[in-house]
């Protein structure tokens, strides 16, 4: 699956709104603000763009973001 991509030192995460509720994504984006600049766009899918302050392990940040949303879904249902 190509949900996590890197473009111009930014990580782009594409998520299904039926599986990842938008309010959880917004909460995760707020909590990840210290990592870098975050932009959330929603149409048929949700596109999250993270521009990390430190350009190391950018891909890893994307996966960590997805894990964090999952933990928000699971622990605060």
């Amino acid at each position: 699956m190509n949900n996590v991509k890197i473009e111009d030192n930014k990580v782009i995460i594409v998520l299904n709104p039926l599986l990842y509720p938008i309010e959880k994504i917004k909460k995760a984006a707020l909590d990840f603000e210290k990592v870098g600049k975050i932009n959330v766009k929603q149409d048929s899918s949700i596109k999250v763009t993270i521009a990390p302050k430190v350009a190391v392990g950018i891909n890893e940040i994307g996966f960590q973001f997805c894990d964090y949303i999952l933990s928000l879904i699971q622990t605060r249902l």
Partner: protein, 142 residues
């Protein structure tokens, strides 16, 4: 490199494993719970259609992890949480009753003391033989 299992619901790729889950067999809450249980070993991304097929991508955090073993472990977790959910639904009434009784504990009438229980037949009284009766019996025996 793509390797599949007999059920063809596990696809092994380079660096990650893709698992297809039928949402009619495993509800979304169970899939979330199973994925959450694996978070210490893998990164998880969930995609697909919640009505027909859910795809779970598991990407190992450590290079030492065996992806095939992780995939089977995830399937075990799915069964584990399914059973937990079913049992929780079955025991719901019992759990509610136990909690209700536990919370009501202090409000319930206290257990009456022994002195308060009426004993019109004299059943509670312990009958011990008097000293004279014991000595009479000893004389008879000798």
């Amino acid at each position: 490199m793509i390797e599949e299992n007999a059920l063809k619901n596990i696809e092994l790729h380079e660096g990650f494993v893709l698992i297809s889950v039928n949402p009619k067999l495993y509800p979304l809450s169970v899939i979330y719970a199973a994925a959450y249980a694996m978070l210490d070993r893998v990164h998880v991304i969930i995609d697909g259609d919640p009505e027909t097929e859910i795809l779970v991508e598991l990407r190992a955090k450590s290079k030492d992890e065996d992806l095939k073993e992780i995939a089977y472990c995830f399937n075990d977790e799915l069964i584990n949480y399914s059973i937990y959910t079913i049992q929780a639904a079955r025991n719901k009434k019992l759990r509610e009753t136990i909690v209700e009784n536990a919370l009501r504990g202090n409000l319930r009438d206290s257990i009456p003391l022994e002195a308060d229980i009426a004993d019109p037949e004299g059943i509670k009284k312990v009958k011990t033989p008097r000293k004279e009766e014991i000595s009479d019996k000893k004389e008879c025996l000798s």
